[in-house]
Point group: C2
């Protein structure tokens, strides 16, 4: 497994992975009907950097780094990670998050913030905690989960 | 003083008010060098609604309402308020915030969230508390303030 910068041509492999996750509407605050072009913009064009995790079976995961707030807030980045369904449970999210912290430091960011980690996404919350992120906020009833109903979202933060 | 929906032609009066605030870089996480066109996009085009507060001297304040997160988070709105320097201390921010809560409910939002209220902006923090917002998060060293250095930012929230 290697993690490398995404190229424009990778998006055809990235899109089905993202589409599965966004369409399910259970973990990301993204319109489940997002178009491929809007998704390309969100994941590939507007971030500061996008990476893919590639194994023998091709691209199995992807993440982005973006500036979380402009102006006086521009020293904190935000990242989003997605792992292909077939590649889950193998530590890929952990690898990508660790990689992203190195890359974010190299880009000059001094902290990383996740704005919207759903309380129902227990695996992610636990992983981010183990990787040194702390919960700095809890937004009540922040997300309308298709099966769980209204769930809280956490703001999570780590100094780099 | 009336508060009414902003028309496209109002932006020529809105821009100097916003520009003063953004250029100072002390309260909003906006690039202090933001262009007039980028500012129009941010304040007038992408929000769900934009309002102006108009007195005998013309437009003295403005605010926007936007969906804070798409998809499963789309029931929570975000607002931003700016009062012209000459009109401060007269309760205009309070009037606009109260107005925005009525308008947000009419637009179907069920809660209002401020993502980035600077701890150094003591007046705003106090006002939002008095208007029923609670602090649900604190982001450490979130903003590089030109005079105060690194300051925390609060996430504030109110059910509508």
């Amino acid at each position: 497994m290697i993690i490398r910068p995404a190229k424009a041509a990778d998006f055809d492999a990235i899109w089905p992975i993202l589409h599965d996750v966004f369409r399910a509407g259970e973990t990301y605050a993204v319109d489940p009907r997002i178009s491929k072009e809007a998704c390309r913009d969100y994941w590939m064009t507007t971030p500061a950097a996008t990476y893919v995790a590639e194994g023998q079976g091709g691209i199995l995961g992807t993440y982005y780094i973006r500036t979380n707030q402009p102006g006086g807030g521009a020293h904190i980045c935000n990242c989003g990670y997605v792992v292909a369904e077939a590649a889950r449970g193998q530590g890929l999210a952990r690898q990508m998050c660790e990689h992203s912290q190195v890359m974010a430091r190299a880009l000059g960011y001094r902290a990383m913030q996740f704005n919207f980690v759903l309380a129902s996404n227990v695996g992610a919350v636990g992983l981010w905690h183990r990787l040194g992120f702390e919960t700095v906020g809890t937004i009540p009833d922040a997300f309308d989960h298709p099966r769980a109903g209204m769930v809280n979202a956490f703001v999570m933060y780590k100094r780099l």
